[in-house]
């Protein structure tokens, strides 16, 4: 490797996933991709260290799911032990601020719980670090600046330079996770540290119901030839009917939104 490239400290935030069909706990797909990215970075930049971090309650089900990450080739996972229903963000932010890694990798969205996808943003806000979402690859790290490849829709990529420390989130564009091996997974250590639990008050007030599939807008293609159909299928989504409101008051903006929602039949 080139001499100016030095090993960096990477923390991967992992969650307990949920299998989409059976609902069983598992390693979450996006978080596992994040770990895969980190392990690739470790190979690319010798001397890098990858740490695993999870905040949440310790139970048999959670533990076996978390060990799924350890089976990818790590010796230890730091578990910030909290009671069920606690807010993970303060605990994670405190832990990361105490010994800041240069790079924090998370999945874009959790597979259970709120799954709002807000955790990386909330963490970035608390720590005051830049955030890059939809990461596809880390190209290089030089003098505290990382060159990243961000995935955009339809296979497009955008190259970004980010000063470390930073938070990056990965989705399905990141490399697929390697197989988790049973032996190393169960031998690895779960280093649990109890942290003060801050109950998530907002969450407690919410009403939770099973999610419904979001309705999909039908794409009506009026094409005469195969060429037109192909073009329609391959074309970029164009926001043709949208409008940009600038310099309007809050009331006007709200009215415009309300009008659109009525047009679309979201509000009746």
């Amino acid at each position: 490797m080139r001499p100016e490239q030095q090993g960096i400290e990477v923390a991967v935030l992992v969650s307990v996933g949920r299998h989409p069909i059976t609902g069983r706990a598992r390693r979450a797909d996006q978080d596992a991709r994040g770990l895969e990215l980190a392990l690739g970075l470790e190979r690319q930049l010798p001397g890098s260290r990858v740490g695993l971090l999870h905040a949440g309650p310790r139970s048999e089900e959670n533990e076996s799911a978390l060990r799924g990450y350890l089976g990818m080739g790590l010796d230890t996972l730091t578990l910030l032990e909290q009671a069920e229903g606690s807010d993970a963000i303060p605990a994670l932010a405190e832990h990361l601020a105490a010994a800041p890694p240069q790079l924090v990798i998370t999945g874009a969205r959790a597979e259970r719980g709120e799954g709002s996808g807000l955790l990386p943003y909330a963490l970035a806000e608390r720590l005051g670090w830049p955030l890059v979402n939809g990461l596809a690859a880390v190209e290089k790290v030089e003098n505290g600046v990382a060159t990243l490849l961000q995935a955009l829709p339809r296979g497009q990529r955008r190259r970004l330079k980010v000063r470390l420390p930073a938070i990056v989130s990965v989705d399905a564009a990141a490399p697929a996770a390697r197989q988790s091996a049973f032996g190393p997974a169960r031998r690895a250590e779960l280093a649990a540290t109890p942290v003060p639990a801050e109950p998530d008050r907002e969450l407690a007030e919410w009403q939770l119901a099973p999610a419904r599939k979001r309705p999909k807008r039908l794409k009506i293609v009026k094409a005469a030839s195969a060429r037109d159909r192909f073009k329609a299928a391959a074309a970029k989504a164009e926001g043709g009917s949208g409008q940009v409101l600038e310099g309007v008051s809050a009331e006007q903006g709200a009215e415009a939104i309300l009008k659109l929602l009525n047009e679309e039949g979201v509000l009746r």
Partner: protein, 657 residues
């Protein structure tokens, strides 16, 4: 002069042989411990050799007789030689017996020499090519030195030069036959082979009609212990001994479907590589067929070094291990009773459980098995969707039944659903009281286990055993030989003992009991493909043929059928790991079907059906036995009348309304 020289030579050779034996035993003892009764094993040795081993060797009559003459002659000659020339007991009948023994051995060695003239490709060359000459050197020289001892020739016959030359030939013969036996020549097979038979890891496989085919469970209780076999020394000591017994006859190679398909596996080479590993060194001296596409001489290993390298090359490449379909053709064919499949799965266990390196779709299938209890990742709640209209009795409702119908993962496969529906029709026609587990059933764990994921296998098995323990039934019937094998032969070690029947066996029993009647067969010619997990794993060759006979079908046998049936390529997770070769195994099997001239091939396994039906431009149709039976069903004569009256009764009732 010879009288004084011979005892020195004989006892020197014996002494060196003892030292060699001690060194060889130390090599085997590098392996993990394995408890076998030593004295009982030695006591059983003659029977295992003369009956069980000979039963396999006898499949080739000429070689069998050759071996009887050569080996029998040698053992007798060696013992008598020690008595006659070592201790000078030439008087009386002993000398004449020695003449007879060495003459017999010489005749045998002539046949060995003939065999080595144009040896078939499966035989190893190299040092093995000199073996007939060494056999002749031993037998002729012993014959010659015994002539004066019995008085046919005067004791001072010939010149001293002749005596010296004879002594040289005696040294050659003793060197190969006695010294070489324990120091690593071709005759090593006699020494290691005898002990291997005595201390075999599967003592239960010996004896008339016995078989032992279930994989041995891996102990998962010790969390610190590394899982599976990483280094040659991780095998048990008697497995290492077994590898050393290999005589390199290549019968396994001739039968191996992966080798024939040009995939990088040759069972003989694999065993020889393990021998290289246990002694340390490179495979450059191997003189047989290589793994297809892999030149000899590039691999090397040590007893405590990895078998499969993490990077680069070690003893064996991973794709060699993943090419195996676990069809057991090699084990069935091996005259030395070596257990190739056990060794391959042991090494796969390490690759999967310790390294997480199951190739291709392996990881996905294992993840599916963990998350959804079936390899396809289907919703476990949809296991019974194919039978929505059949109103199958559920075990959860009825709690007990005469027969538990095990569906297997074919329940998710649209092709196998046709077989299952046919089987249900047959069971109903025979008025069998049966029930299914429905959504409580899980994958039997077969694929997980063959892919080396013993943890997932044991998890599935234990949960299935718990489910089965809730209900009462007399036997399990299944149309999947893999489930049949796992439930019947592999659950026992984990605490589940069941009486399991393959559907062909059960249908044959129903027919014999007069509970089924068939219309005469009107179709074309039919052949039958023996599934590996039904035939070689469970010895069921007759029942499917009896069912076909009952249907009025005369089976046109393929050249490779019965215990020599060629695999369809679907076992051992081979379609999942999908190691490329030059040909496809199912294509070769459908070609066998074509050569038999049959228009239809009857099968009894969902895997075989899928593999054989996947062949493009096949000349024969593929049907499961259950489908053939269901199509031929007619009402039983006695029942027919009842049925007819019932139908009439229905009609009148309708009319009344």
């Amino acid at each position: 002069m010879l009288e004084t020289l011979l005892p020195i030579l004989i006892f020197a050779a014996l002494g060196l042989a003892v030292i060699g034996a001690w060194r060889r035993v130390r090599l085997w003892r590098q392996g993990r411990p394995s408890a076998v009764p030593l004295l009982k094993g030695l006591a059983a040795l003659p029977r295992r050799y003369l009956v069980d081993l000979h039963h396999v060797v006898e499949r080739d009559k000429v070689m069998s007789n050759t071996h009887v003459a050569t080996a029998g002659g040698f053992v007798a000659a060696a013992v008598l030689m020690i008595l006659v020339h070592g201790f000078g007991l030439a008087q009386g009948v002993l000398g004449w017996l020695l003449l007879a023994a060495s003459a017999t051995m010489f005749v045998g060695s002539l046949f060995v020499a003939r065999r080595r003239r144009n040896p078939p490709a499966r035989l190893s060359k190299g040092p093995w090519m000199r073996l007939p000459k060494s056999l002749m050197a031993f037998s002729l020289s012993v014959f010659a030195i015994t002539l004066p001892a019995v008085g046919i020739l005067p004791a001072d016959f010939g010149h001293w030069l002749l005596a010296l030359a004879l002594a040289a030939v005696v040294v050659w013969g003793l060197g190969e036959m006695v010294f070489g036996m324990t120091w690593g020549g071709p005759m090593k097979h006699a020494f290691a082979g005898a002990l291997h038979l005595a201390f075999h890891r599967r003592a239960e496989r010996f004896g008339e009609g016995n078989r032992s085919t279930g994989l041995k469970a891996l102990n998962l209780d010790d969390e610190a212990a590394p899982l599976g076999v990483e280094k040659p020394a991780d095998f048990t000591w008697n497995q290492l001994l077994g590898f050393d017994a290999c005589v390199q006859c290549g019968r396994c190679e001739a039968m191996c479907p992966a080798f024939a398909a040009g995939q990088p596996l040759n069972p003989k080479k694999l065993i020889q590589d393990m021998v290289v590993g246990l002694a340390g060194g490179s495979d450059a001296n191997y003189a047989g067929s290589p793994y297809p596409g892999k030149p000899v001489g590039e691999h090397h290993g040590t007893p405590h070094g990895p078998i499969v390298a993490r990077e680069g090359k070690a003893l064996v490449d991973a794709e060699t291990l993943w090419s195996c379909t676990t069809c057991r053709a090699c084990v069935e064919e091996c005259p030395m009773m070596i257990e190739h499949v056990d060794a391959i799965v042991d090494m796969r266990r390490h690759l999967t459980l310790e390294r997480g390196q199951t190739p291709n779709k392996g990881a996905e299938v294992l993840d599916n098995l963990i998350a959804t209890d079936n390899p396809g990742g289907f919703d476990p709640g949809s296991r019974l969707h194919w039978a929505a209209d059949l109103n199958l009795p559920l075990m959860a409702d009825v709690k007990q039944a005469e027969v538990l119908l095990w569906l297997g993962d074919g329940a998710f496969d649209m092709r196998n659903q046709r077989t299952l529906r046919a089987l249900v029709k047959v069971l109903r026609a025979a008025e069998v009281e049966f029930a299914v587990l429905g959504t409580e059933e899980r994958d039997s764990g077969d694929v997980a286990r063959r892919l080396g994921d013993e943890a997932t296998f044991q998890s599935l098995a234990k949960r299935n055993i718990t489910t089965l323990a809730k209900y009462r039934f007399q036997r399990i019937v299944t149309c999947d030989p893999h489930s049949f094998h796992v439930l019947g032969n592999e659950y026992g070690e984990l605490g589940g003992q069941y009486e399991v029947r393959h559907h062909s066996t059960f249908i044959a029993e129903l027919y014999d009991a007069g509970r089924l009647a068939f219309a005469p067969w009107k179709g074309g010619s039919v052949t039958y493909h023996d599934p590996c997990y039904l035939g070689r794993y469970n010895g069921e060759y007759e029942a499917p043929r009896n069912v076909l006979k009952a249907l009025g079908i005369e089976v046109k046998e393929m050249e490779r059928s019965g215990f020599r049936s060629r695999c369809c390529g679907g076992g051992g997770g081979a379609p999942i790991t999908d190691i490329p070769g030059e040909r496809r195994i199912p294509d070769m099997r459908m070609n066998d079907v074509k050569e038999s001239g049959a228009e239809l091939v009857a099968v009894g396994c969902p895997q075989c059906t899928a593999m054989l039906e996947g062949v493009v431009d096949a000349t024969a149709e593929v049907r499961d036995i259950a489908e053939l039976v269901a199509d031929a069903l007619v009402a039983r004569p006695a029942v027919e009348a009842v049925d007819a009256s019932r139908r009439n009764a229905g009609k009148t009732a309708e009319e009344v309304i």
